[in-house]
Every structure is written in structure tokens, then in C-alpha cells.
């Protein structure tokens, strides 16, 4: 069971959250064209290692959080507010 350290609520169980996918992709501007939206919606790095992803604290403070998680060990290096920058560990 993942335990995610919400910057507002503290460490909470995975059960309070909903996963929201890759947080490294950014919604293109409205006029960016079809290819940009295709890349945004579909193509992924899918790293085996550190990953920046969205988690929604639905049964908590209802904030979307940026979580830096390792996809093999499930270690979490950082949990940030939606607007904050995160740093991804090397290796």
C-alpha cells in the first residue's frame, strides 16, 4: 500500500487517492494542432524508474498532487502541490 505524503494532510494511504497519470505531459495551447494533442493524450515515456505523476487526494483535501515515484521500488522522492516544480532524482 502506497503512503503518500500530502503537503496539506500529511502521510495518507493510497486508498484516499486516485491516480491521474503522467504529470510530465502538459496540455498544449488550444491552437497547437492535432499532432500536439495526439502526443499529449497518447505517447508516453513510461519510465522504468522515477516517474512524475498526478494523484488526486479525493478522500482528503481534494488537491491534485505531483508525486515523484519510482516505478520499480515504489519509493516516493517528493510530493508537491500541483503548481510546484519537482526534481527527479538521477538513476
Amino acid at each position: 500500500m502506497l503512503r503518500i505524503n500530502c503537503p496539506f494532510c500529511g502521510i495518507r494511504d493510497e486508498a484516499e487517492f486516485k491516480f491521474g497519470g503522467d504529470a510530465s505531459v502538459k496540455r498544449p495551447p488550444a491552437d497547437a494542432g492535432a499532432e500536439a494533442f495526439y502526443l499529449y493524450a497518447y505517447e508516453r515515456d513510461n519510465p522504468k524508474g522515477w516517474y512524475v505523476e498526478w494523484w488526486h487526494h479525493v478522500a482528503g483535501c481534494r488537491q491534485w498532487l505531483k508525486v515523484v515515484r519510482h516505478t520499480v521500488t515504489h519509493d516516493i522522492a517528493q510530493v508537491a502541490k500541483a503548481g510546484d516544480a519537482v526534481s527527479v532524482p538521477q538513476s
Binding site: L2, R27, A30, G33, A41, R62, T73, I76
Partner: protein, 983 residues
């Protein structure tokens, strides 16, 4: 004689009380403190089960949860429980146990013939045969195999007992209550940490339970622990898995030692433990050696025989032969001798042994450099053949108990779950936990430390370190036991298998022999994981707890490599198997998921609502006080709406309050259509897409003030829509001034629909002019009904003139009843989900079956709702070529050509050109019996649908061999001009 193997004294059983039990119908007695296994041994029962494949007679091998053979059917009736390890089942008065996997009886088991033909049934034989003729597999071979499958029998009735799950948090979790665990818990507790000490046994103490000289220390430790408020002791609790983020699962057998759970108490309780730090003081299990016929009842691990003598006060035999590759065997031999068991000989594979002299002093024959080459006896050991490993002849020794001391396997499984690599210890010839990767450390024998004093010291150190790592550094000293000198040298000679003729078992439960493992190797299944799967070694209910390493060693020899190179099959949860009930806890039967009730729920119950589960909600399908069946109540309700007026509970619709200066802009980007231009006091139908261009949700949104909107969503998507909005606002457009929250539960909402809806409402609404001019279609206004505040929305889902009346939930019933009362003259009736569906299908409104995530706005005929200017979610992706292809299925209406109702149209039918055509043009999404057109009709997604309006097609339903001719039409079967809603 009753309890003929019970020792006169000693042990931790209460001889002053007698418990009665039966095994295979025979009545026996035991004492409190016994396990079923110790009580069976006390009564001289040797043969307790049959093996899986060969049905060989099997006895009790261990004294703990690692037991591979003594599995019984415990209890009877609905509480019966297969594959229960007799070695952990606590004896209670009236216990009933039966042996399993035998027919007709344990003593005479027909299938034991398998053993005779065993040489034709090596590992994996089934992969090589049963292939010819092909048709025989289903009819002959597989039924045969399935008849042989399985061990125990499951109860077929539902379980009468209850279970629960509980959450726990601690600074330090200590697993195991031996010397190491007790000391660890004490050290951590004294430092101020919150401690949980979990012990699978019903008594705390582990190995200490065998050491009367340390009893005082054990008790003082337990007393001290009980006195620390933040220490929680959990006996009968097995920690079954170590999961990521330092969460561990444990199962507490709350009432398994009782005939039935007490009132208001559960049978088992499952713990989810979040531990800052964990100390694994899980001890070690002894392991066997492979030699011919090492599975005969009476072949037992030496430590188990010692445990039976010292802890349970029973002699596992009268005359013991001990076979050892380490000093542990001597300790057991002495313990047996002290208990009055004759020790025929110690057969030691080593040429030198520290204990040999002491043994000889005790009059025990010691044969160094020797091995056991065969075991005699059928259903019980009668003796063994031994020989010198340095050459020389074989000789036979009589004895009814063969104790095997093959070395120790430190219990590394929990550490292993964390992915900590195992480390080979040459001295112990065993794997130890390697460098931790989670917040855990192993202590005591689990970490390869032997001896009570040393284990206690190691535990204390681990407890302190764990507390310190959890932030508690205030250490307090306490007494540790002094070394008592009896500590045997744990060094083990790496001796695994006696090479002699006969079946030498490696995995006792699954009947895997050393030869099977060699066969796997010969056939190229040389990796340990391949060999495991090919032979099923380590895959039985004991998961290779005693013999896993033995299998690796046999394979290592075949490969010509070291055991550490070969490694062990991966350890996975569960350390010991966990009941399904314990896992489910309260979430069984009705409690699988909480019930979400509308504010009108109890009115529906009192008024004969027939409920349907929709998501977590319960919603009335229809109301029927009489014996109306099938379509009757539905048609009655729907007709009432079309002809007069009906009222329906629509409280389940999602409702989202949206406020802020940019609320309008925000909605413009969410919806395909525009909301910033909506007038205050008006509602508008909106359509939302996903970013991939598919329709996500729809509903009406009203503008309550310049800066405030109220959105309604479908019941199904309510939570998702709010999350979607929060995502967009928080991550994509944080600059917008908007705040959102759900108000779904705040409002009871009811749809009052029908040509007489206004009349009905006029009878109870106060403070709002319902006239068409004052309150036109899509109007929103506040009023009161029966003194309760209400908000009216003039929106319609049925196609009739309709009002949705919302009132704060607590007034729901009162308002509902007031409307029913007021509508009496108009013949108002409550209608349920079925009639609601019927009406919306007639009207051509889309719902779940059409909004299934596979349809675009264009598919549903909503292309006009996609604004041309400005950004909105899904705009770009919806224009991808295949999504705008004219060939996509699009929404149309279909109607049975024959109005007789005889030939039934059904949802899920496909549309084809000819009655027997196989080429599907589309499918029927929603079908109903129409009250307006008096025939079957519905909605369908059909390729080039709109172009086909007027054509005839066939709705085919091969699942029932039905074909119905239909006419393609507009989806708006009722009032296509939409006049009624504006009336």
C-alpha cells in the same frame, strides 16, 4: 488407553482439565495447551493424512505452521475448514477433525495405488501424455485429473462467522515473541516508542517455551511489556506479508481456539499495520534431509519431537533414532531421553561432533560419519537402515520415531518480501536476510544468531535501533538472560541428501522427490524457478518452509554449482495462508460496498419501491404494491407521466456548486457549448467531452448569479466530473478564479413530469408564478413547498412538461409528499427508474448505453453543440479523421415494424440488412416498450444512421435466435418538435 504417550509431568499443558475431541470419528482426550497435533500424538495417532499425488501415508512432521503433512479437515458443517494444520489448531472441547484426501478411509486408501505406479508418474508427466486422442481430454483425462485434485473439502454453505479488518499504526512492529522479539519489544517500548508485538502462537515466548529455566525471565518480560501503555501484544497473530511503504498485513485468530466465536466477537481479525520500523524476530525452522522413505509417519523434525516433549508433555515415540548433520540433533535427543523416550542411536553424518561424548555419557549410541538409507514400516516407522558414509555395510535399527535435524532455515520470508536480497551463510548452510531495503531489521535466530542469551541481546539491540530510527533515543536497560551454557553450536554440515535407492522426498506435501528435481534438470528446467514449476516443489500449502532449501541444494548438485548460485524460489505473501473471510473482513455479502441512500429512500421502502443497485446507490425501479409483474407497473407509471403527471426521485444526479469570477469561462472550456452567456435564472443543457474527443458527460447547468452556477451531472459520472474539473482548474488553468464543491447530498431532487405537472405543482408551490411566461422552459426559480425551501428547474428528461424540484435533503420526504398530495386531482403517481428510462428512450435522450465512452458528439447528433470558437476539452482530438468518418455508427431511432409486441426488440441486438445477414451495421443501445407508439422501439447506433432514416433493417439477436424487422427513424420518437416541454 487414553493419552498413552502423555508424559507424567512437564510441558505447558493443564493436566487438571480434560478436553474431548474426535479424529475420524474416534474419541480422544487432550488438555488445554495442546494443539490438535500434540493431542493426536498423546493418543498414539500416527497416521493423520495422505499425500497429494501418491496418497502415501503421512504423519506429523513439525510442531508449527510450517507443517506440510498433518493437514486435516477441522470442524463440521458450515464451519468446516479444509487443510488445517493440526500443528497450529488449538485443542478445544468438542473439536472434530477428519483426515482428508483418502477414500474410503485413511488406513485403506484406494488411490495409494498411485504410489505403486509412481515411477510412471514422474514430475510433469501430464505434460507428456493425455494428448491422444484429442477428444479424450475433456471427457476422460481431465475429469480423472480433477477427481484427483485438491486435498480437503470445502464447506459448501456460507460461513456463519464474522471477520473484521482493523488499521494500526506503530513506531516499531516486532514480529515474533521469542527471546529476540521480547527483548526488542521491551527495548523499543522502554524508549517510548509505540510498539506492536505480533506472535502467531497462542503463547508468547517462541523458543523460550521449551526452556523452563528461562520461564521466569519470559514472564517478567511479558509483565513489563503489559505495563507499558504504548505496547500492544497480539498473540495468535501471524504477520503474513511485508508490503511496500512499510505496511504489513497480519491475521489474528481471535476465536479459532473456541468452538464458536463468542457473541459480538469475530472469528478472525485482519490487521493493516503501518510501522515506522519493523524488527523481524521470526526465529528459524528446522529442515529435513532427503533419504529414502523419509515421509513415513514417525519421521519428524528433531526440534518438533523436542517441542512435543518439552512444551506439550508428550512423547512422539517410544524409541527414537536421531539423524543429524549438526549439534541441534543432540539437544533434541537429550530432551527426548530426559522425557523418558529411549534413544536408539544418533546417526550423525559428520565425522566429528561436539555432543558425541555427552551422548555416549548418557548411554546413547552415536554413529558418526553415518547416514540413514531407508525407513521401515508402512503406516508408522518401525526402524531404519543405516550405513557408514566411509564404506561398510548397512545395518538396521529398530525404532518408532526418526528425528531429523537437517539444520536451520532462519525465517527470512518477511525480509524477502521487501526485495532484500538473501545472503548465504556458509556456517549455517542457510540463507540469511541481506541488506534491508525497507525500514526493517532481523534479529535473533532469524538473523542467524543462536542461543537464548545471544538472541535476547541481539533483539534488545535491534529494538533499540528501531526505536532510535523511529525517533526514540531514550534507552532504558533491563535484564537479559545469562548464557546458560547449553547453547549448541549452530554450525551445520552441508549435507542434504542420502544417495540410496528409493523415493527420497524433498517436498512432502506435493510428493516431489529428489529424482524429480534431477529429472527437471535433465530436461532443461535447470533454473530454480523452472524446476519449482516443473516439479511443483515449494508450491504446496507450506510453500517449502521446511524443504525449500533442500530442493535448491539437490538442484545445485545436479547443476554442479553452489546452493547460493542456485538460490531459492521467490518468497511471496502469504507467510502462512490467510482465510478469504479474514481478508474480506466486514466487506462480505451485503456489506461488500456501503449503500448510498437518497433522502427519499425510506419513503420508497414504505411505498413498495423495488430497488436496483446503480453504483453504490439504491434506486427504485418501479413501485408495486400488488402482484403486477413484468412490464405492467412500468407501463402504468410511464402512461401516467405521458397522460397526467408523475414524480420521480432524481436525487442521485450529481450536483456541483461552481463559484467565482471566472466560473463562466471555466464552464465554456469544460463544455462543448457556451455557458458564460447564460442568463441568471436559466438552465442550459451542456455536453462535456474527454480530451480524446469522446463524450464524457451531459447535464443541465443553471446560472444562479453572475458568479455562481449549479451543474448537474449524470448519476454515474458525478464523482469523475468533479475530479475532472478540479484537475483542470488546479493543474491546467490555475489562473481562473473558480471554486467547486459537490452538493449532491445537500439536495433531494424530484422530477415532476407530465402534461399536468404545472397543475399539480400549482397546488403546493408558494412564492413562484409557474405560468409559462413567468417561468418558461429552462427557467430556474426559488419557492416553498409545505413550508420548505425549494428550487425549481424547468427541465425535462421525459419530453413532457416537467419541473425538477430540489429541496434540502432533510425536507425531501415532506416536499415529495406535499407534491403527491397536491397532484392527487391530476392522478399523480411516483415513477421509478424503469419508467424514467422508457420515457427518455421514447424522447430520444441519450444516457448510459449511448454515453459509453465510445461515442463522439457527432455520433450522437450533437455536432451543433460544438462551438466553433474557443478552446474546450476534446475539441482538437474529436476532429481526428477516423472520428469524423461518415462511416461511424451514429444515433438513430428504431421501431419494430410489427406493432403487436409479439416480436420483441432487445437492447444489444445488431442491425443487419437481411434477416440472415451476418454483417452488423450497428446495434440497439436502448430498447423499450413504447406507451406513446404502442410498440417496441428504441435507440441505435448505426453506420450512416441518419442517412438510413426511413429504411427497413433487421434487428438480429442470435443469442435468442430472434430477428425483428425495424424501421430506422429519428431518435425522437415522441414530440420531435419539442413542443410539450414548452407548453
Amino acid at each position: 488407553m487414553s493419552q498413552r504417550n502423555r508424559l507424567a509431568s512437564g510441558g505447558r499443558i493443564d493436566r487438571s482439565r480434560t478436553l474431548k475431541f474426535t479424529f475420524d470419528g474416534h474419541a480422544f482426550e487432550g488438555h488445554p495447551g495442546d494443539t490438535l497435533a500434540s493431542a493426536l500424538i498423546a493418543n498414539g495417532e500416527r497416521l493423520v493424512g495422505r499425500s497429494f499425488k501418491y496418497h502415501r501415508p503421512r504423519g506429523i512432521v513439525t510442531s508449527g505452521p510450517e507443517e506440510p503433512c498433518a493437514l486435516v479437515q477441522l470442524r463440521a458443517g458450515a464451519r468446516q475448514e479444509p487443510n488445517t494444520r493440526a500443528t497450529v489448531a488449538e485443542l478445544f472441547d468438542g473439536l472434530v477433525a477428519t483426515s482428508q484426501n483418502r477414500w474410503p478411509s485413511l488406513a485403506v486408501d484406494i488411490a495409494s495405488i498411485n504410489s505403486l505406479v509412481g515411477r510412471f508418474l514422474p514430475a510433469g508427466f501430464y505434460y507428456k501424455t493425455f494428448m491422444w486422442p484429442a477428444s479424450f481430454w475433456e471427457k476422460v483425462y481431465e475429469p480423472l485429473i480433477r477427481r484427483a485434485a485438491g486435498l480437503g473439502k470445502a464447506a459448501m454453505e456460507p460461513d456463519p462467522d464474522e471477520y473484521e479488518t482493523v488499521h494500526a499504526h506503530c513506531d516499531v512492529l516486532v514480529v515474533g515473541s521469542g527471546a529476540a522479539g521480547l527483548a526488542a519489544a521491551r527495548a523499543a517500548g522502554a524508549a517510548g516508542a509505540r510498539v506492536i508485538l505480533a506472535e502467531q502462537d497462542f503463547e508468547m515466548g517462541g523458543g523460550l517455551l521449551l526452556e523452563p529455566q528461562h520461564e521466569a525471565w519470559r514472564r517478567s518480560m511479558l509483565e513489563a511489556l503489559s505495563a507499558i501503555p504504548d505496547v500492544r501484544l497480539l498473540p495468535r497473530t501471524s504477520v503474513f506479508g511485508f508490503y511496500e511503504h512499510d505496511v504489513l498485513g497480519a491475521i489474528e485468530r481471535v476465536s479459532d481456539h473456541l468452538p464458536v466465536p463468542p457473541d459480538h466477537q469475530v472469528r478472525q481479525r485482519r490487521w493493516t499495520i503501518r510501522a515506522r520500523q519493523t524488527v523481524l524476530a521470526t526465529g528459524a525452522t528446522e529442515r529435513p534431509i532427503a533419504f529414502p522413505n523419509n515421509d513415513r509417519p514417525g519421521v519428524m523434525l528433531a526440534s518438533a519431537a523436542m517441542t512435543y516433549a518439552r512444551r506439550f508433555g508428550v512423547a512422539a515415540g517410544e524409541r527414537a533414532i536421531v539423524f543429524a548433520n549438526n549439534d541441534g540433533g543432540y539437544e533434541s535427543a537429550f530432551a527426548l531421553q530426559d522425557a523418558g523416550v529411549a534413544v536408539a542411536a544418533i546417526i550423525d553424518v559428520r565425522n566429528k561432533a561436539k555432543g558425541a561424548d555427552a551422548a555416549r555419557d548418557r548411554g546413547i549410541v552415536v554413529r558418526l560419519g553415518s547416514e540413514v538409507t531407508n525407513v521401515h514400516g508402512g503406516r508408522s516407522v518401525s526402524g531404519a537402515t543405516i550405513r557408514s558414509r566411509n564404506g561398510g555395510g548397512e545395518r538396521t535399527i529398530d525404532g518408532d520415531l526418526l528425528c531429523v535435524a537437517g539444520g536451520w532455515n532462519p525465517a527470512v520470508y518477511l525480509a524477502s518480501h521487501t526485495r532484500a536480497r538473501l545472503r548465504w551463510d556458509g556456517g549455517l548452510s542457510a540463507f540469511l536476510p541481506g541488506t534491508p531495503v525497507q525500514a526493517e531489521r532481523s534479529a535473533g535466530t532469524a538473523a542467524g544468531v543462536f542461543g537464548i542469551a545471544r538472541c535476547a541481546a541481539d533483539g534488545a539491540k535491534a529494538g533499540l535501533e528501531a526505536a532510535s530510527a523511529a525517533g526514540f533515543r531514550d534507552s532504558k536497560a533491563f535484564d537479559l538472560p545469562a548464557p546458560d551454557g547449553g547453547d549448541a553450536d549452530p554450525k551445520v554440515e552441508a549435507f542434504w541428501e542420502v544417495k540410496a535407492k528409493g523415493k527420497s522426498f524433498v517436498d512432502l506435501q506435493n510428493d516431489v522427490t529428489a529424482d524429480d528435481i534431477r529429472l527437471a534438470h535433465r530436461e532443461g528446467y535447470t533454473h530454480i524457478e523452472h524446476a519449482k514449476r516443473y516439479t511443483t516443489h515449494s508450491m504446496a500449502t507450506d510453500q517449502g518452509r521446511t524443504s525449500g532449501l533442500l530442493g535448491s541444494a539437490v538442484l545445485a548438485e545436479a547443476r554442479g554449482e553452489t546452493v547460493q548460485k542456485v538460490g531459492m524460489p521467490t518468497y511471496r505473501p502469504y507467510v502462512t495462508p490467510v482465510s478469504w473471510g479474514g481478508f474480506a473482513g466486514r466487506e462480505a455479502g451485503h456489506h461488500l460496498a456501503p449503500v448510498r441512500r437518497t433522502p427519499l429512500h425510506h419513503w420508497h421502502i414504505r411505498n413498495h419501491g423495488i430497488f436496483l443497485e446503480t453504483g453504490l446507490w439504491l434506486r427504485p425501479l418501479y413501485y408495486s404494491a400488488t402482484r403486477e409483474t413484468g412490464w405492467d407497473p412500468i407501463l402504468r407509471e410511464a402512461r401516467a407521466v405521458r397522460q397526467n403527471v408523475g414524480i420521480c426521485d432524481v436525487s442521485t444526479l450529481g450536483k456541483i456548486d461552481i463559484q467565482g469570477r471566472d466560473a463562466g469561462t471555466f464552464l465554456d472550456r469544460l463544455y462543448t457549448n457556451t455557458f458564460s452567456t447564460l442568463a441568471v435564472g436559466k438552465a442550459r443543457y451542456g455536453l462535456m467531452l474527454r480530451e480524446d474527443g469522446m463524450v464524457f458527460d451531459d447535464g443541465t447547468t443553471s446560472r444562479l448569479s453572475e458568479t455562481r452556477y449549479l451543474m448537474t451531472t449524470t448519476t454515474a459520472k458525478a464523482a469523475e466530473v468533479l475530479a475532472h474539473m478540479e484537475f483542470l482548474h488546479q493543474t491546467v488553468w490555475p489562473e481562473l478564479d473558480v471554486r467547486t464543491c459537490t452538493v449532491t447530498d445537500q439536495w433531494a431532487q424530484m422530477s415532476v413530469a407530465g402534461p399536468k405537472a404545472r397543475l399539480a405543482l400549482q397546488g403546493c408551490v408558494e412564492g413562484l408564478d409557474l405560468g409559462n411566461e413567468a417561468f418558461p422552459f429552462m427557467g430556474v426559480g426559488d419557492a416553498r413547498i409545505a413550508g420548505c425551501p425549494v428550487r425549481l428547474y424547468r427541465v425535462s428528461f421525459s419530453g413532457e412538461m416537467a419541473y425538477e424540484v430540489a429541496t434540502p435533503a432533510g425536507y425531501g420526504e415532506r416536499v415529495w409528499e406535499a407534491i403527491l398530495e397536491a397532484g392527487k386531482p391530476q392522478g399523480i403517481v411516483p415513477y421509478g427508474l424503469e419508467a424514467l428510462g422508457l420515457l427518455r428512450i421514447e424522447k430520444g435522450h441519450v444516457a448510459g448505453p449511448e454515453l459509453n465512452g465510445q461515442t463522439t458528439a457527432k455520433d450522437l447528433g450533437f455536432e451543433k453543440m460544438m462551438k466553433k470558437k474557443g478552446d474546450f476539452i476534446g475539441r482538437v482530438s474529436a476532429e481526428r479523421p477516423a472520428l469524423v468518418s461518415p462511416d461511424r455508427p451514429r444515433l438513430v431511432g428504431i421501431r419494430a415494424v410489427d406493432p403487436s409486441f409479439e416480436k420483441r426488440l432487445r437492447g444489444g441486438a445488431h442491425l443487419v440488412e437481411k434477416p440472415d445477414s451476418k454483417k452488423s451495421l450497428g446495434w440497439a443501445t436502448s430498447i423499450t416498450r413504447s406507451v406513446e407508439l404502442e410498440r417496441w422501439l428504441g435507440l441505435a447506433m448505426i453506420r450512416q444512421g441518419p442517412e438510413r432514416i426511413g429504411q427497413r433493417l433487421y434487428a438480429t439477436y442470435p443469442l435468442k435466435n430472434e430477428v425483428v424487422e425495424v424501421e430506422i427513424c429519428s431518435p425522437h420518437h415522441v414530440d420531435p418538435e419539442n413542443l410539450r416541454v414548452r407548453a
